[in-house]
């Protein structure tokens, strides 16, 4: 099955995933370049990905994880490179005996096209010029991201995925995948997401992009020899980070508490007086170290443009062709991707007679809940995967 890649490490007996390495696949070698939605062609491209667990003989246990805006391929386990290393971003959800059980499933997670964590993006070298793409990188949509993921799955020798799972921008990828490649997806798990980004989401993205454009170091995207738009990018992250939290969670975690003192400093120079200020500054600063501003521009735009019903009469019409079973969940405190948007998706799925389960989960952590509140998710996703696999085997045996 996986001839040119090394096997994923087997789970050690203690039920914890062993260290993993990010792998790199070269796809879309000319003359089979990737054709973007806007018509541009690109190839070859590199896709960074990780896998956990083992592909079974029936080849019916592969689960693809779509990461959100600033995530990466490192979804679970450790790389084993540093002592104080943090595990992958969904490690609480992916692993032996966890929600997505790596003893049963072969889990794949890849960095998105246009990203900056190993997959080809605006920070990569343009083979045509020998320089970094910058804003010369083709205009990117969610469909282009999914086209690259879909090709990776084929490259790994997998004809059909048991499920595609994602939250937020990852959920949008799941939707696009289920609609455009119905034969490749048996199950679709859409968390804290929407069939299109609402005006409020576009508004926040616009402010983030403006912060980057307005930074003098941005230099029209050709900043790779310099420091780059650090202030702009960190400001974009600070704004976005607020939208990932909820009023309650921010109040609970920080309240009006001051960072270094019990008293106000009455100092206009002091920018991090409240704990929440300090936290946001820290988040912004850390983000700049790991993320490319051009990727941020491209990916937020891809998110803005996403509308599943585009080119169809209605959302229900767009969903007519899907064959996957759906599991949809939203969170009661998520105001970036509010429940109403998930319900719109569920209504449309019901209208065209598709198999869908939906719930709104109570959780105080706002949009980020899908990354944090893994207990209730596990309760639903684990049986959903199990039953989807069973249904596949039953229909295959008939």
């Amino acid at each position: 099955m996986i001839s040119d890649e090394q096997e994923g490490p087997a789970a050690p007996p203690n039920g914890v995933l062993g260290n993993v390495q990010t792998k790199y696949a070269t796809l879309f070698e000319p003359p089979h370049e990737l054709t973007f939605q806007v018509g541009a062609k690109l190839g070859p491209t590199t896709v960074a990905y990780e896998t956990y667990g083992t592909l079974n003989e029936r080849c019916d246990n592969a689960v693809f994880i779509c990461h959100a805006l600033t995530g990466d391929a490192h979804a679970a386990a450790f790389h084993g490179a540093e002592d104080d290393e943090k595990p992958g971003w969904w490690d609480g959800f992916i692993g032996p005996g966890k929600g997505i059980d790596t003893n049963r499933y072969f889990v794949i997670c890849a960095n998105v096209l246009g990203g900056c964590q190993g997959t080809t993006g605006p920070g990569s070298i343009n083979p045509a010029t020998g320089e970094r793409f910058g804003l010369e990188f083709p205009f990117l949509t969610v469909s282009d991201i999914v086209s690259a993921h879909s090709e990776l799955v084929t490259h790994l020798g997998i004809r059909q995925l048991l499920a595609v799972i994602g939250g937020s921008l990852g959920g949008m990828q799941v939707l696009d995948w289920a609609v455009r490649f119905p034969d490749q997806v048996r199950g679709a798990v859409v968390l804290a997401s929407a069939p299109k980004l609402a005006a409020q989401g576009i508004a926040f993205n616009a402010v983030g992009r403006r912060a980057i454009y307005a930074d003098a170091e941005f230099a029209n995207g050709k900043y790779y020899d310099g420091e780059g738009p650090r202030y702009g990018l960190s400001l974009a992250r600070m704004i976005a980070h607020i939208t990932y939290l909820s009023e309650d969670s921010i109040e609970l975690k920080f309240g009006r508490r001051l960072q270094d003192s019990d008293r106000f400093a009455f100092d206009m120079q002091k920018e991090t007086e409240f704990q929440i200020e300090s936290y946001l500054h820290y988040q912004g600063k850390r983000f700049v170290q790991r993320f490319d501003a051009n990727s941020y521009l491209y990916l937020t735009r891809a998110m803005d443009y996403f509308d599943l019903s585009e080119g169809y009469d209605s959302l229900a019409d767009a969903l007519k062709s899907v064959t996957a079973r759906f599991l949809v969940a939203s969170y009661d405190t998520d105001w970036l991707f509010p429940t109403a948007q998930s319900k719109e998706l569920v209504s449309a799925l019901l209208q065209v007679g598709k198999h869908v389960s939906y719930t709104e989960l109570p959780c105080p952590f706002g949009h980020d809940s899908f990354l944090i509140d893994l207990g209730p998710l596990t309760e639903m996703v684990a049986p959903f995967l199990e039953q989807t696999q069973l249904a596949g085997r039953t229909s295959a045996d008939e």
């Binding site: 229900a316 079973r325 599991l327 319900k343 569920v346 209504s347 449309a348 019901l350 209208q351 007679g353 198999h355 869908v356 389960s357 939906y358 719930t359 709104e360 989960l361 209730p376 309760e379 639903m380 049986p383 959903f384 039953q387 989807t388 069973l390 249904a391």
Partner: protein
């Protein structure tokens, strides 16, 4: 038992399930309102090859239905069926639940908006034992179909078969079939049904709906 649950631990459950099953065509699209753990849904799916969707407010029931590999949407019947598109289902099932929702009239109308036909099972408050209990003891009756103390009953509304018929007329729904359930049996046209029936089964249609 929690008063927020819709499903009753009703000894007549197998009977009402059978009754409902008999009135649903093979391969139809069914929505089960207040589906509980999906018991009836499973039978409709396995024995009738129906495409079934359950609605329930409790997360543990949502999970239970997912564990059966069936489709379930978490929703509170007290808030209507706004997220369910019109004319999506052939049948809507509302078994031993109507008396527990805040606005039964609205829910019945909604039910027949999303489905062509409605199957409803409700306890009959007109049963002689209920009347006798009220008269004799002067207290809220506790019977087999109404097994709760007044303060812990999930039942919010008490209606007799007469009441139900009146309501159907006033909201423009047609009773296609009525089967009083007497001593654990569904009986066709019994005498004094409103006195003798513990509960009643109804097959409903919109008055304007063409006969199928």
């Amino acid at each position: 038992m929690s008063s927020t649950r819709y499903q009753l631990p009703d000894p007549t459950v197998p009977l009402t399930d059978d009754l409902i099953m008999r009135h649903i065509d093979d391969n139809s699209r069914v929505i089960d309102l207040g589906c509980g753990d999906g018991r009836l849904m499973q039978r409709l799916s396995d024995e009738r090859a129906c495409n079934v969707v359950g609605i329930d407010v409790e997360q543990h029931n949502v999970t239970a239905v997912i564990r059966r590999g069936l489709s379930v949407v978490a929703a509170d019947l007290n808030k209507g069926l706004a997220d369910i598109p019109s004319d999506t289902f052939d049948f809507a099932v509302l078994s031993q639940t109507l008396q527990q929702v805040q606005r039964p009239k609205e829910l019945l109308t909604e039910m027949l908006r999303v489905a062509n036909r409605g199957l409803v099972v409700v306890p009959n408050f007109g049963h002689w034992r209920v009347r006798y209990e009220v008269l004799r003891r002067g207290r809220t009756p506790i019977t087999q179909t109404l097994p709760y103390e007044w303060h812990e009953s999930p039942n919010l509304h008490f209606m007799s078969m007469h009441d139900f018929r009146d309501l159907m007329q006033s909201i423009g729904l047609r009773i296609v079939k009525e089967r009083p359930i007497i001593n654990g049996r569904a009986v066709d046209r019994p005498w004094a049904a409103n006195l003798r029936a513990d509960s009643a089964f109804y097959l409903l249609e919109r008055s304007s709906a063409p006969t199928r």
